[in-house]
Amino acid sequence: MLKNATAIVGVGQVEFSKNLGRPERTAACEAIGAALDDAGLSPADVDGLVSFTMENTSEVEITRNLGIENLSFFSQVGYGGGGGCGTLLHAAMAIAQGVCSTVVCWRARNRSSGGRPWAQTGNRVAGDFQFYLPFGLLRPADQVAMLARRHMYEYGTTCEQLGSVAVTFRQHAQRNPAALMQKPMTLDDYMNARFISEPLRLFDCCLETDGALAVVLTRAERARDLKQKPAYVMGAAQSTGPEHVVMANYHKPNFLETPSVYAARDLFAMAGVTPADVDCAQFYDAFTPLVLFSLEEYGFCKPGESGPFVEAGNLAWPNGSLPCNTSGGSLSEAYVHGMNLIIEGVRQIRGTSTCQVENAQLSLVTSGAGVPTSAVLLASEA
């Protein structure tokens, strides 16, 4: 069984930056080294590596640099930002099945200095792209704004409600010295910012960041003897949902459904807990509407009720019913395809967050909701 068979025992990262000034492979080695140090392990202990797509460093680059003799298991999860928590699922499965014993999952990405993927759109667009890019639906912000507009139409969700997500996460970032956005932001600041893709404004959109991060997983029995308090992988899930089109996911019967609803079902079933048991959450927040969709699809509120839920302050640390994105998230800490959300989920279990939820026992982390996705539940006790 996968439930509680493995734990995250080490986390590491380099500084977040607009321009890191060194190659991704350099930063990846630093982050993985830091994660192994944190765990009290060495490269000799590592026999598995898992990454997710849009990663610019390869397994063999990592093994060559760290001096890892052999990998018994390596895999790459698809769909970029949807795959972050999927790396933990793959690692946990491989360890639980005895294919390997200790796995590093990592992300190294110079997304700020390296340029915007959409700005590199080619002159000819093939496959699914041929049906939406030529009409000017170019950027992830546009593709998510389309869903947000319909959510507003169906449920009366407002821009101010989206803004309350951005403002709350900024407040969390201000307590986190590693976060890039330390400046206070009011709802007026949010509303006065320019539109990027109506109904989304500038601060509905995540940062553009250079960074590298890594986590180390091993068997639960071994985790208990290591340096840090283990964050047990109580549940992990991936999902696609039906009729998926990446980022322009408008063709399934229920327009507003995202793959998250399927990941949520499998995640809570594996863990044997309910949303009411979750102490804090790190939702993939490349854009504020994704947080609203996730609150509904992971079962923290009913369809259409996420707007009032966020506006009532439920996401805010320390008094909200579900403190979320307690490091500042992709909106205000750093955008590194959600790997920082995983590390913050671990910190909550360890008790070391700068917005620490008192006695956090169960920590939810999700990956990108506009694409085939994944999620993980981390627990303090196995």
Binding site: T121, V125, F131, F135, G136, E198
Partner: protein, 143 residues
């Protein structure tokens, strides 16, 4: 800016599944792939029917009428080819033949601050290159 420097918009690259869709647009017809097993239309075109797994299909011409299901208004920064159009709207249109058929397309000749979900629209074919014509949308005239 010289002709050679003019920024190019992304141009669809037809494939065996989408060839007839784009050929229809060039002729001024909105063509939908239809399963000959269960008669359901599907978009985007693909080899197999997701409802009955039939690999047999034909093409039908639909009315080109629909309603705005959702929309966005794009502001800078965008690709250079779209920069002069900002702010411009992109729609998801629900086709009148089948509420499960939704298409992404641009909206022509209509103020971006007067768009509403539910507005009736009709297809408007806009040549992009010698080979490719895009199915865009116009607000339907009251009949």
């Amino acid at each position: 800016m010289s002709e050679a420097m003019a920024p190019t918009a992304p141009v669809p690259l037809p494939d065996p599944d989408s060839e007839e869709f784009w050929a229809g647009c060039k002729r001024g017809e909105l063509r939908m792939q239809r399963c000959t097993g269960c008669s359901r239309m599907r978009y985007y075109p693909r080899p197999m029917c997701p409802h009955c797994q039939s690999m047999q299909s034909d093409w039908v011409t639909v009315s080109g009428r629909g309603t705005i299901y959702s929309f966005v208004v794009c502001h800078p920064p965008v690709l250079p080819a779209f920069a002069e159009k900002t702010p411009y709207a992109v729609l998801v249109v629900e086709l009148e033949e089948d509420s499960n058929l939704r298409m992404v397309g641009g909206l022509l000749d209509h103020p971006v601050d007067e768009i509403e979900i539910g507005l009736p629209v009709e297809v408007a074919f806009e040549p992009l290159t010698d080979e490719i014509t895009l199915p865009q949308w116009r607000v339907a005239k009251p009949s």
